[in-house]
């Protein structure tokens, strides 16, 4: 296996692969969402800032300060019956050049009866020759509500960085009562910049986001979301019990400007995590 072949430079500079496991379960008590179980190991840390409403906000931290080939992070969350759980990250996840292997980030989210979970990590930034393989597996109760927003930046344009080559794979599976209701399969491989230059891909833009909402308000949210997307390179549609919106933008700042009001609206008035500011 490639992962066994650690070069001398790596042995000195970065001897350990980052490993992290974080788990959290929330339960409802006295009309508020409270902590039920909590576990963290390795580079995965979870902070629970005080909130001013009945919901819980969990801020995920990767203490290794970025990921590279061979790193493995595993998150799992459960929003118990009647809870409101918002998950975000303290920083943008930075994926650095991988000498070998891919960074693996797996997230599992279970949302119970009458509960709602919002998966709102900050942008993932992929640097040149980064390799990231990510998965998001969601299990929803019959009447659970779920919102996911994932934003990806190929380098930081303002810093003159571009992801020329590398790998980005993102696999989502959202199930309701065991039935697959939504799947996403993103795959940018090898010459990422050449691919992103194609008009059918990103017309050279370096930022894009996928927004999926599953729940009873999908229909009602569509019209206002379309208004908020305005004349951005974006679109939204609704079918079955889901709303899907996709956005591209020249850089991360432009993307955030579009995303913030949209996420805010999709949260139905609940405040946005503080990290989601311009």
């Amino acid at each position: 296996m490639n992962t066994q072949a650690i070069t001398a430079a790596e042995a000195i500079g970065r001897p350990q692969r980052a490993r992290g496991v974080g788990r959290l379960k929330a339960k409802a008590r006295d009309g508020r969402t409270r902590l039920d179980t909590f576990y963290q190991e390795g580079c995965a840390k979870i902070r629970l800032p005080e909130t001013f409403d009945a919901g819980m906000e969990a801020v995920l931290i990767n203490t290794s300060g970025g990921l590279t080939g061979g790193d493995v992070v595993d998150w799992s969350f459960e929003a118990g019956e009647g809870t409101r759980l918002t998950l975000t990250t303290q920083a943008c996840e930075k994926i650095y050049k991988a000498s070998n292997g891919t960074a693996t980030v797996s997230t599992g989210i279970t949302v119970g009866a009458g509960a709602r979970a919002d998966w709102l990590p900050q942008e993932t930034i992929l640097f040149d020759n980064a390799s990231l393989t990510r998965s998001l597996d969601v299990d929803l109760h019959r009447d659970a509500e779920f919102l996911a927003v994932e934003a990806v930046l190929f380098g930081r344009k303002a810093m003159g960085e571009t992801m020329m080559a590398g790998l980005f794979r993102d696999r989502w599976r959202i199930r309701r009562e065991g039935r697959l209701v939504h799947a996403e399969e993103a795959h940018f491989g090898r010459s990422v910049a050449d691919l992103a230059a194609q008009p059918a891909v990103l017309s050279g833009c370096s930022a894009f986001a996928t927004i999926v909402y599953c729940g009873p308000q999908a229909d009602a949210l569509l019209a206002p979301v379309r208004v908020l997307l305005g004349d951005a390179m974006a679109g939204a549609s609704h079918w079955q019990d889901k709303l899907v919106a996709r956005v591209s933008a020249v850089d991360g700042f432009a993307l955030r400007k579009i995303l913030i009001p949209v996420i805010s609206h999709l949260r139905n008035g609940a405040s946005l995590p503080k990290v989601w500011t311009l």
Partner: protein
Amino acid sequence: MGEGIDTRALLRLMAWLSPAFPVGGFAWSGGLERAVADRLVADAAGLSAWLETVLAHGALWNDAVLFAEAWRQCDREARSRVDDESGCRLSDGRAPRVEDGAGRCVEREAGRGSEDSSDLAELAELGLALAGTAERHAETLSLGRAFVSAASAWPDPVLARLPQDVPYPVAAGALAAAHGVPPVQALAAYLHAALSQSVSAGIRLGVCGQAAGVMILAGLEEEIAVVSARAAAGTLDDLGAAAVHADIASLRHETQHSRLFRS
């Protein structure tokens, strides 16, 4: 051409994927209509590049992977059926398809039969869940259902095993396997038909003329062959697309004011 294809299989493939086969493919543009309106596609060169991306890195690539997986699942089923009849020939006298190079029946995969319809149902569910926009979902479902209904002219037990809600590539892949059409050729024909339909849509949208449209199809031949071979040799793990703007165009088509196409 490598693997050969017998005349009867070729005729069936031509029938199923002909524009005259009543699935209604002409009514859909897969978001191309909006891409043209948004000036993402402006001329023949642009249309060619757009279609090549959709084929190798977009919805059509995922369709190819789903088609190939449906083909494999139904091929396994066909194999065990051949074995059950203790011979290499099906009762309707169709040519054997389960032979190795020396003409022997290849090994049986016992007990696959009952599993297969649930595998197919799961695959259909995945195909529909992967349709990234409302119109793409409507398109693949409408074409898939119409395909199954029209294909009843070639009776085969596989038609009954397909779920009611079936995406187009899963229906087409399953039927191709059941009738012994080799996967690479079946995929190439499927992809060619989809791209022909898109080129025809492009012509109707005024992106290019007939002659340029034919040139685009000729130019895509090599990529169709590559993608067909790659998908036929792949697994569901090879699903994955990058065509974000093609998806956005499909989403934006819903709000386009004057439209010739349903997607």
